[in-house]
Symmetry: C2
Subunit: 145 residues, 2 copies
């Protein structure tokens, strides 16, 4: 693990998406890369207690718009997750299931669930899917207290 190398890699990630790699953005990206679950603006704000809420907000907006992260609605709050490689400016492929665990309150992506079987009645054309489920995740199920 070499911090300098990670920085270098993260700079490249941003440049590939046409985002200027500023300090704030690199820190935010680094944080997002560490996350296993979706995080809200408030979560990030709490983590970087010195950072400005609005800057973070705009950073996330930029990331989302450029295809670095995608957002989901989780009971009134917006949460963010890293995108797949295939996402780009204005183009998202977020058609996978988001699972919200009511116990640990984490939201994770379940790419392995096959949603291709979904078909709509004639006349409807879908631009975007939003799939989510809530319940108990595998980790919490394993650790009954």
């Amino acid at each position: 693990m070499n911090a300098g190398q990670n920085d270098e890699r993260n700079v490249q990630i941003l440049l590939n998406k046409e985002i200027q790699p500023t300090a704030m953005r690199l820190l935010t990206l680094e944080y997002l890369l560490e996350q296993q679950a979706a995080v809200s603006l408030a979560d990030i704000e709490l983590h970087f207690h010195k950072a400005d809420r609005i800057t973070l907000y705009r950073t996330l907006k930029t990331f989302e718009q450029k295809g670095v992260i995608h957002s989901i609605q989780e009971q009134q709050v917006t949460k963010y997750l890293l995108c797949d490689e295939s996402c780009a400016t204005g183009i998202h492929h977020d058609d996978h299931l988001h699972f919200f665990c009511t116990k640990c309150r984490n939201t994770t992506c379940l790419h392995q669930v096959d949603l291709s079987v979904m078909s709509l009645p004639p006349g409807f054309s879908v631009v975007q899917w939003h799939f989510s489920a809530s319940g108990i995740c595998d980790r919490c199920a394993g650790t009954m207290q």
Copy 2:
């Protein structure tokens, strides 16, 4: 169509769900019964321009809790729809697809889409599903301008 009969029927609907049939609640129920699409608190408020926002809010909360309606999140705002017969206090069966048309901005339920094919990885247990899609609905597709 007999207004008195409808009233009587609506009173019964509420009583069956253990809700006191007050004037406000009957009006709200009547309005909800007329809707083809999900409505927000603001929508209802606009329709009953004399009504109090908070009372409406609490009426909807009561309806939801008692299994008359269910709520969905539609880009930051909560919208409400009538439940199936099978819903009761604290028990909802809303596992059908909600389709949001980006043109007419209406949200409708698509019960005909089969979601039973969905299966999760082992370890996950689902309490509630939330399926939605956005795009162009059949009615708007038919009326290209």
